[in-house]
């Protein structure tokens, strides 16, 4: 999961957007009108009634004709992707590359494109990553350049890796003003570990505060790439963008793929179309594929007949065939996204191959309860959740119910961003009002006895719901998920950030000055400590200058305990929480305080307690009403008084009684929901 903090000026945009920007891959936009109107392609638009038809100026005469891809042998193919920190100009560069290669028209409306882009970004969470096949002529030769974007909500590194696995090189875009940020580092290492060619691109050199030399030095220092290798561009103005394409051709090797081998196609993304079914984006590592071929999904073991193959320009454009080294799409009558699992390998039925490595089912790391604000909305919300998960098989869905919040679901997400995206889509696209509970992480427990292991069927149990928390006596040890977080910050904030990290149980791994004023710090964090409000804290205590990113770091033993909340001695089941022992007091105290603020005074004193087993560790008290009676009766006007009382009487019916205490639903929501940013 990647989280980024942008510079203060950009904070005006919502922090969520900031969070989303990098990972939710931006759209590749094109213009098309009578001849060149504006057109933005989103995954969700596929279901919209009016689907624009792509009309490429350069190739418009061939629109109805299937492209012959055999003119691009392996050595004329370059597969690359662009990686960048939020707002460092990735999509602007992509737009320019599309324009130069004629995939979209170059017009004077660039500014408008950018403005649109801002708007799109506001709700850009729905945007689905795209692949674009570009035709580029260099020194008299026409090359096929496949720009492969990482898909929508990529939350963990192996998922980025799956896109990268279809590439041989990356453009690492860095802002000439902001320099290297946390995501830049994470992205670099992903590409580096995949042994890809990395072309550093310093963008926004036209900015007044641009300092490309400083950024060059940072790149040299952290990534060990000679500064001469950096291309300094302004994607906005188009400065040196052509050089980028030339360097792609020169520096990035062609894919290692043999057309003589049997078909071996890696599925690196898939989308769902209401009419055509699953559209799988594939990279061919060997052989070729055409309409009518019988292919097999290595993961599912099912056979399909290919209906259509093509390239993405970025609109689907059918071709006769796809050949080794090429990137395109396959439609083969698959009805569910699950049938085209990302990382899966397709091969010809008659020529089985060893599947490509790298398939790993998405594993949810952040869980949150989702409930309709009003139970009468349950069915609407259910269908909205179903629709969204149709296109995103990485979200796990379990029905859940809470006495306080009613029926709902516990959803598992790949990471925080993934969750944000999902929730915002629910609210915006399906107009569903939802209560989202504070996110939790999956814990594990090593069972203590052979008997228990037999009972549970495994030695290690994973649990998300506090009610499943295995008792201490049954457990050898508890484990919690860890992440390695990268923070890049101006050095003036080091002190504050270190204090915060320490308070979040983080262990510093290293610290490095990347230039005179900027520091990169690496910490090992319990995931639980960053899922709630870490990013916001970091942002506020660094005036928006620090950036943050993290990657999975396995599990570690942790001293976990179950924290109960009691109202006048009665436990409130839905408020039971798993906490680290060190944090139990702080968590318990905070919950008691939030409850105190949201339970109205009553006729009886209310003791709100947080307890570990029988031991109370925090307490708040709500005193009983001593006087609550209206002195006046409004001279015969009892109507007003009656109205108020009836409203209160109605309100009482909606409260949950715990012992003699009435707890409004809002109180649970206030305690359970995420803090508003």
């Amino acid at each position: 999961m990647q989280v980024a903090v942008s510079a203060p000026g950009r904070l005006i945009k919502s922090s969520l957007r900031g969070l989303l920007d990098f990972r939710v891959h931006k759209i590749i936009r094109r213009k098309q009108s009578d001849s060149d109107g504006f057109y933005v392609r989103h995954r969700w638009m596929k279901n919209a009634p009016s689907v624009s038809v792509f009309c490429c100026r350069q190739y418009s005469s061939r629109e109805k004709v299937n492209l012959d891809m055999s003119i691009f042998p392996v050595d004329k193919i370059r597969n690359f992707s662009i990686i960048a920190h939020v707002d460092h100009g990735k999509s602007t560069l992509a737009d320019r590359l599309l324009e130069i290669t004629g995939a979209i028209a170059t017009t004077e409306r660039n500014k408008q494109v950018l403005d649109k882009l801002q708007v799109e970004r506001e709700r850009g969470i729905t945007v689905k990553a795209q692949t674009a096949s570009l035709f580029y002529t260099h020194e008299g030769q026409t090359y096929l350049l496949n720009l492969i974007d990482t898909p929508g909500h990529v939350d963990f590194s192996y998922e980025v890796a799956r896109s990268i696995s279809a590439c041989q090189g990356v453009l690492l875009v860095v802002d000439a003003n902001e320099g290297i940020q946390a995501q830049t580092v994470a992205n670099f290492f992903l590409a580096f570990e995949a042994q890809l060619t990395i072309i550093p691109v310093i963008n926004k050199i036209d900015l007044r505060n641009a300092d490309p030399e400083r950024v060059e030095k940072q790149i040299e220092k952290i990534f060990d790439i000679p500064k001469e290798d950096c291309i300094k561009i302004s994607a906005k103005l188009g400065t040196n963008v052509n050089q980028v394409l030339q360097e792609v051709v020169k520096r990035i090797p062609p894919p290692n793929a043999n057309p003589e081998d049997p078909l071996k196609a890696l599925v690196f993304d898939s989308t769902f179309d209401h009419y055509r079914g699953v559209i799988a984006n594939v990279a061919l590592f060997g052989g070729n594929v055409c309409k009518g071929d019988k292919i097999v999904s290595a993961h599912m073991g099912k056979t399909y007949e290919v209906n259509e193959v093509g390239v993405l320009r970025p609109q689907e454009h059918p071709t006769d065939k796809l050949y080794a080294g090429q990137v395109g799409y396959v439609i083969a009558g698959m009805k569910e996204v699950k049938e085209a699992q990302i990382g899966d390998t397709f091969y010809l039925q008659k020529q089985p191959v060893e599947p490509l490595p790298g398939f790993k089912p998405a594993k949810p790391m952040v869980f949150a309860g989702i409930y309709p604000v009003d139970q009468s909305e349950y069915n609407n919300l259910r269908s909205a959740v179903e629709k969204l998960t149709l296109n995103d098989s990485s979200v796990t869905v379990h029905r859940d119910s809470s006495p306080a919040l009613g029926a709902g679901w516990r959803l598992g997400f790949l990471g925080l961003l993934h969750m944000e995206v999902f929730n915002q889509r629910l609210e915006q696209e399906y107009n569903a009002s939802v209560i989202v509970t504070a996110p939790t992480v999956p814990y594990k427990a090593l069972l203590a006895s052979a008997k228990l292991i037999k009972e549970y069927g495994e030695e290690e149990v994973t649990f998300v719901n506090p009610t499943q928390f295995p008792d201490r006596s049954q457990v050898l040890e508890y484990l919690e998920p860890m992440v390695v977080g990268t923070i890049i910050t101006p050095d003036e904030f080091i002190g504050k950030i270190m204090t915060m990290c320490l308070s979040r149980r983080a262990v510093q791994k290293n610290m490095l000055y990347i230039d005179d004023h900027r520091v990169m710090m690496k910490y090992l964090f319990p995931l639980n400590e960053i899922v709630v409000d870490f990013y916001d804290h970091l942002k506020s205590l660094s005036s928006g200058y620090a950036s943050f990113d993290y990657e999975d770091a396995g599990y570690q033993p942790a001293d976990l305990i179950k924290l109960d909340i009691l109202l006048n001695g009665k436990p409130v089941e839905e408020l039971t929480t798993i906490a680290h022992k060190e944090k139990a007091y702080a968590v318990g105290k905070a919950m008691c305080e939030r409850l105190k603020d949201s339970i109205p005074r009553q006729l009886f004193e209310i003791a709100i307690q947080a307890a570990l087993g029988n031991k109370v560790i925090a307490r708040e008290t709500i005193k009983a009403y001593r006087k609550n009676v209206l002195a006046k009766c409004y001279g015969g006007d009892i109507t007003r008084k009656m109205k108020l009382l009836k409203k209160q009487a109605e309100g009482k019916k909606k409260m949950r009684r715990i012992g003699n205490i009435e707890v409004p639903k809002d109180a649970f929501i206030n305690v359970l929901k995420r803090n508003d940013k």
């Binding site: 009553q602 006729l603 009886f604 009403y625 001593r626 006087k627 609550n628 009676v629 209206l630 002195a631 006046k632 009766c633 409004y634 001279g635 015969g636 006007d637 009892i638 109507t639 008084k641 009656m642 009382l645 009836k646 209160q648 009487a649 309100g651 009482k652 019916k653 009684r657 003699n660």
Partner: protein, 456 residues
């Protein structure tokens, strides 16, 4: 007279249908009426609930605006006293005929500042009432008095006009506090007026006092109340200052220019006042009302007992069965708020009723419960039976865990007399009422259900 305090006095009119008080003046007129919604206990000589009412009259004008008042009042330079008199008389006549009540058991002149009205106006209204219904010679006729607006001579003119009870808005004996409250009198004026009133209506003069005022301390409150008790007559109304949205005082407190005592402190002030009044022989008979020598406000009591009342004048509220229309159900009625508009309506069609809402049996019962429990005697079984013959108090209050909790905690008392608040319970009545209303509603809906079941 200015709002806040007197708002509370129930300006409406009550009916003493079953109390038997009116027997001596009763005449056999009721035989004229064929429609009887509900009969009283059926004793010879008593009026049924719908044959009797109290009458509340609203005088909407004030000389100045009190900082805490959000009541329906108008600061007018020139009041057309003649037109007001005519309209009030006309509306009283219209509504009395509409209600077909036979007897008016009490009249209450509230406001606004009704002591700014001309005594001749008051006299005309009283005469008109007596013309259209029986008005027993000893029927309580109360006038709210603002201590400045009346000289001794005017009080006696009111007395001659037929007023036999004064309610004086003293509010405070501290002059700086009177300034904060925006009152146009001093404590000196108040004490003089009180003396006059006591002379004119011995034993039937009430004073209003407000506590929980900005900056007030426990000590000063106790001292002030003791001072007041040395000079007052037999009735005290005690009101906690409530900050009403839209008033000057509300804004001052919100802006932090003034601060009012904490909830805890006002709760202690209330209880201290109850204790002091009790020690001085004043019996608390309602949340805010105290009397000695049984000098209770008949008019207000009727209101708490759920009797009929007719509201006359701009913005007045009423609760009665408009039998003249052939109606069987009690209506909640509100007169038009703005005096000018109200006046035009009265001139055009005889009354300025702006809103009429028929009340269901459940609605009437709910109001009766809310109001009845404000009295220290609470709701007796007999009283309840008159309001609501369908469900007994026992039926309503048994089987609810929550109500049983209130009984167990001693906040609410239920016995052979009826149901009532304990001393402590009365102070938190508004916290108990929602639960009681839910019980009442549930009983009513169960009743309806079981009726339906038997019909099928």
């Amino acid at each position: 007279m200015c709002p806040a305090v007197w708002q509370c006095r129930v300006r409406s009119i009550l009916i003493r249908a079953w109390s038997g008080l009116g027997r001596t003046t009763w005449s056999g007129q009721q035989t004229r009426f064929s429609i009887r919604q509900k009969s009283g206990p059926g004793q010879e000589g008593t009026f049924s609930l719908t044959e009797e009412a109290g009458l509340y009259l609203h005088w909407p004008y004030c000389q100045r605006r009190c900082t805490y008042c959000n009541f329906n009042k108008y600061i007018a330079r020139d009041v057309d006293h003649n037109a007001m008199r005519e309209c009030l008389v006309r509306e009283a006549e219209t509504l009395l005929r509409l209600s077909q009540v036979k007897r008016i058991s009490s009249i209450f002149f509230g406001g606004g500042t009704p002591s700014l009205a001309r005594p001749t106006t008051i006299a005309a209204i009283i005469e008109s009432v007596a013309k259209w219904a029986q008005l027993p010679s000893d029927a309580e006729v109360t006038l709210e008095v603002n201590p400045t607006s009346v000289g001794a001579s005017k009080l006696s003119e009111f007395r001659s006009a037929g007023v036999n009870r004064f309610s004086i808005g003293i509010q405070s004996l501290h002059d700086p506090d009177l300034v904060i409250l925006g009152r146009d009198h001093t404590s000196q004026h108040a004490l003089q007026t009180l003396e006059e009133a006591k002379k004119l209506c011995p034993g039937r003069t009430s004073v209003d006092i407000i506590f929980g005022r900005p900056g007030q301390s426990m000590e000063s409150w106790e001292k002030e109340l003791e001072e007041l008790l040395l000079v007052c007559c037999d009735h005290v109304s005690l009101y906690q200052l409530t900050l009403e949205r839209g008033t000057a005082l509300f804004k001052q407190v919100q802006d932090g220019k003034l601060s009012v005592p904490s909830e805890e402190l006002t709760a202690r002030m209330y209880n201290a006042a109850r204790r002091i009044l009790g020690k001085c022989g004043f019996h608390q008979y309602e949340v805010s009302n105290f009397a000695k020598n049984d000098a209770v406000s008949v008019h207000n009591l009727a209101y708490w007992k759920g009797r009929q009342y007719i509201g006359i004048g701009p913005g007045a509220h009423g609760r009665f069965v408009p039998r003249g229309d052939g109606a069987m159900l009690r209506e909640a009625r509100i007169q038009t708020l703005e005096p000018d508009v109200w006046m035009r309506e009265v001139q055009r069609c005889g009354h300025g009723t702006r809103k009429r809402v028929p009340l269901s049996q459940l609605g009437i019962s709910e109001e009766a419960m809310v109001m009845g429990l404000r009295m220290t005697e609470g709701i007796t079984h007999e009283h309840w039976k008159q309001i609501c013959s369908e469900w007994s108090l026992q039926e309503i209050f048994t089987g609810s865990q929550e109500v049983e909790g209130l009984l167990r905690e001693g906040l609410l008392i239920m016995d052979s007399r009826g149901v009532r608040c304990s001393w402590g319970g009365l102070a938190v009545l508004d916290s108990m009422l929602p639960a009681l209303l839910n019980q009442l509603q549930m009983t009513a809906s169960e009743e309806r259900q079981s009726k339906q079941e038997t019909t099928f």
